[in-house]
Symmetry: C2
Subunit: 408 residues, 2 copies
């Protein structure tokens, strides 16, 4: 639970300075749903005309707020939007109570903000299977509406944390047609992280205008290369949600602008990396680059098989350059591989080539790479031109300690 765990050794030095996004305001409050003496609710209010796009967990046991958000994505944007997030209780596997809580909360947000209820998006993260005491949240709504400020995004990043050990944020600015548009995003997530997305909540805001349907398309494309390319423990939560809101307040339409897409990609990748860096118990940040696969999709299957292998992840925790376990993980992935064409490098060190340990490889060279906090594993399959890069962390005693004791 945020605060009780030491900050990840892989955390950035500080929360980044995020630009003010015109057209969106924030406020946070301490509702006492579960945590004491900390903010656990955030409300963001978006101006009329804001386009909202979203991607969500593919879990078959999706939580009520996720189902509600998905149903609202296509609604018209002319009367603004609001996003309310609480931490401490996921309102997941709560039967008909779950939907009733979502109804109560979204109705109260609508009343306090004058945003129509069909544009009020909510997320809940925390304990599964306990009814959400939504009265504690609705009791804060008038205050949250009153306190709205354009400068509240960092506090919002803190309010949505659960087992996170640091608040996560990223930003970018782009020049379009002589005007500057800004992007600022926040995220939470540290365990139960895998495609498709796991216990992650991500909210990204831009003051560019963007066609709502085109925004949804771009988001799906970029999610595949960012949040769906990370894994901490292969587990996927019932609540993952990523919303992007384009307010249009900067007076520039960024629809289909390549620079804007690149900038959003960077923001999403930075946030995804921060989630991995806060992986429960993580001491190593690991990038796995797969090349030479039959297709990009098959490259990703191999990459994720390596990234999710407990034996690879414990070897990294032990700083053991155990490339045999990488071979094992490639072999079991189900995607195409030929043992005798396979090459593996740790950092710049070529470890194995053509199905056999490299002539120049010495154990000390691999061991030196494994001592680093950031580890690169490159795998070339020698079969085709498919590539993929995925990110993960190591599997340590601290992961066991957190998850054998914490009731999530």
């Amino acid at each position: 639970m945020g605060g009780s765990l030491p900050v990840s050794p892989l955390a950035p030095e500080s929360f980044p300075k995020l630009p003010v996004i015109k057209g969106v305001t924030f406020a946070t409050a301490a509702s006492g749903v579960k945590y004491k003496d900390r903010d656990d609710v955030m409300l963001a209010v978006l101006q009329p005309g804001t386009a909202v796009a979203g991607v969500f967990t593919t879990s078959k046991t999706r939580a009520a707020p996720v189902l509600d958000c998905q149903a609202k994505l296509g609604e018209p944007s002319d009367q603004g939007a609001a996003i309310l997030v609480n931490s401490g209780n996921a309102n997941a596997f709560t039967g008909h109570y779950g939907q009733a809580s979502v109804e109560e909360i979204t109705a109260a947000v609508s009343q306090a903000t004058h945003v129509p209820q069909n544009r009020v998006f909510t997320s809940s993260t925390g304990v599964i299977g306990e009814p959400l005491p939504h009265d504690k949240i609705t009791a804060q709504l008038e205050a949250l509406a009153q306190a709205q400020s354009p400068f509240g995004i960092e506090a919002a990043a803190g309010a949505i944390m659960t087992t996170d050990t640091f608040a996560k944020g990223a930003e970018a600015t782009v020049e379009i047609a002589g005007k500057t548009v800004s992007i600022a995003g926040i995220a939470k997530g540290s365990g139960m992280i895998a495609p498709d997305m796991a216990t992650m909540l991500v909210y990204i805001f831009t003051d560019a205008a963007y066609d709502q349907f085109a925004l949804q398309d771009m988001l799906a494309r970029l999610t595949d290369k960012t949040f769906n390319s990370i894994t901490v423990d292969s587990d996927t939560s019932t609540s993952d949600s990523l919303l992007v809101a384009a307010t249009g307040a900067a007076g520039v339409d960024a629809t289909d602008n390549e620079s804007f897409e690149r900038a959003l990609h960077v923001v999403m990748k930075k946030l995804a990396h921060q989630v991995v860096r806060d992986g429960e118990g993580a001491t190593k940040f690991v990038e796995i680059r797969v090349t030479g696969a039959v297709s990009d999709a098959e490259a990703k299957v191999h990459g994720m098989s390596v990234a999710n292998s407990p034996l690879v992840k414990t070897a990294i925790a032990g700083e053991d350059p155990n490339w045999g376990r990488v071979v094992m993980a490639i072999g079991k992935s189900g995607a195409e591989a030929d043992r005798d064409l396979l090459s593996i490098s740790f950092g710049e060190v070529l470890v194995a080539e053509k199905g056999w340990v490299s002539d120049n490889y010495r154990e000390e060279l691999g061991a030196a790479e494994m001592k680093k906090a950031e580890i690169l594993i490159s795998i070339d399959l020698g079969l085709g031109s498919g590539t993929s890069t995925v990110w993960t962390c190591d599997l340590t005693h601290q992961y066991i300690s957190i998850n054998a004791d914490y009731r999530s």
Copy 2:
């Protein structure tokens, strides 16, 4: 490495008394491939007419001995067969040296035993990526051939161990047409265990006669319900091999006999369970029974998703009745599920029904079930008649200790 770890708390009290199987003899030796002062090679010699069937890892990076065994399965049985197994070095990812070592060993076994080389099956288990010093093994072959004894099966079970903390064996006898036929099996395996089979080596012998093709069919069928229904860590080795040899020395043909198939199923299930009981760091033996799925295959997908979930496995290690994580694992499996039809029990305790915590459930009841060394998790999906049972163990600090330090 066998011997240096404490014996699993889930181990049987002692190695079972295995019946003598007429038509097969055994011997073991200490070749010094890797381990000091212990037997690390076993040779079994089978009489002419012995039918041999096998199933193997589906890894795309299969080791040389596996490829060699697979190629030999269909060969005629009239001149007998031999099985040679070494521990300490897996002869995997060893390039062209790998096949050369298999050639040297099988030729030497053939010379020492007068079994044709195309009926000499070998397996190797241990370190990946280091050339097998096969001379150390071939140097033992004359002695191994001389020392053959019908009573050597328990010593053989010991010689094939790597990180195993106890030797594994199981037996059954069946009456067919007024005669008794016997089945005796041995196995090794403790980590890198998942479908399809992982670092497991299994050898089962019977003195029944059995048609070689029918034996292969039955073996595939029974493997799906036994060795391919267990998982320790979701990782799959490059070397898994299961051979069944039917010598026919009892003078009874068991082909298509249902009692025999049931008895072989029992032996395979007992050996598979012993592998889980020796799962690296295991303190709990977990049975997951899935019912009400759309099909048996989908039931198994759900069962394996729960059995492989690090969050479920750490909750069990922590004796936490965290049924929310079971819901999560069902949701992410990819197989059909309806949150609001789902029921979950721990032992006899109904925890959740119809998408919501059960009215009679109290945390103490679930917690009491979790304190047991053997845990049953029952999941009913409420969708159809598909069922599956799978077995796993918990994920503990000891798993991390073993795998962050041991170079496998």
